[in-house]
Amino acid sequence: MKTLYILNNPQLFEQCTLAMGTQDALLLIEDAVVLSEQQSSDENHFVLEEDLIARGLNSGSSWNKKNYNEFVALTLEYNKSVSWL
């Protein structure tokens, strides 16, 4: 089962990535988008573009960016999504 993990709390990055399987994906939203400046990314790591732009972080990040519509499309590619709180 492929799971999309959605993280909005930067403090829980390690705990969340620890739970993820190799097939799973991670999407950073809200405050957690700051992590895209600090953490290296791989191909199943995404960050929500609108939250980056809002925070003036849009240029620096090497993470794959997704806007809201692409976020919705992303959720359809996975069996379930988990909001890691």
């Binding site: 089962m1 829980l12 705990q15 620890l18 739970a19 993820m20 799973d24 379930k80 988990v82 709180l85």
Partner: protein, 119 residues
């Protein structure tokens, strides 16, 4: 075929209500014969400590309700041994309601569940 729900406790008790509320949700979902697993990771392991006395904070002690998990047919109650060790907690300090597990097994349960819920 009944759906499976993994409920993840990752916060210590009494600083917020997430432990108590997740417990209520687990018991309710079990009553709707969903297959429930209760997973304790990170600071969530503190939820299972014995002799909690929150009345000193004028708060309700929800920890005794963890004994109801088994009564409601929730057999998969796993606590992460790595996270206990990291916090220098021995299993003997926990209520006898969970079985010692590890991240690999807990992650497998999360992956295989139809739904995963946290608060």
């Amino acid at each position: 075929m009944s759906k499976s729900l993994a409920i993840i406790f990752n916060k210590a008790p009494y600083g917020n209500q997430s432990g108590r509320e997740l417990l209520d949700i687990a018991l309710m979902a079990a009553a709707f014969d969903m297959e429930i697993s209760a997973l304790f990771i990170g600071d969530g392991v503190y939820q299972l400590l014995t002799n909690q006395q929150p009345d000193i904070l004028h708060m309700k002690n929800h920890s005794s309700t963890y004994k109801a998990l088994e009564l409601y047919g929730i057999e998969t109650v796993l606590v992460s041994s790595e996270d206990l060790e990291q916090r220098r907690l021995s299993e003997s300090r926990l209520m006898p309601v969970s079985s010692l597990s590890n991240h690999k097994q807990i992650n497998k349960t999360i992956a295989e569940s139809d739904f995963v819920f946290m608060l």
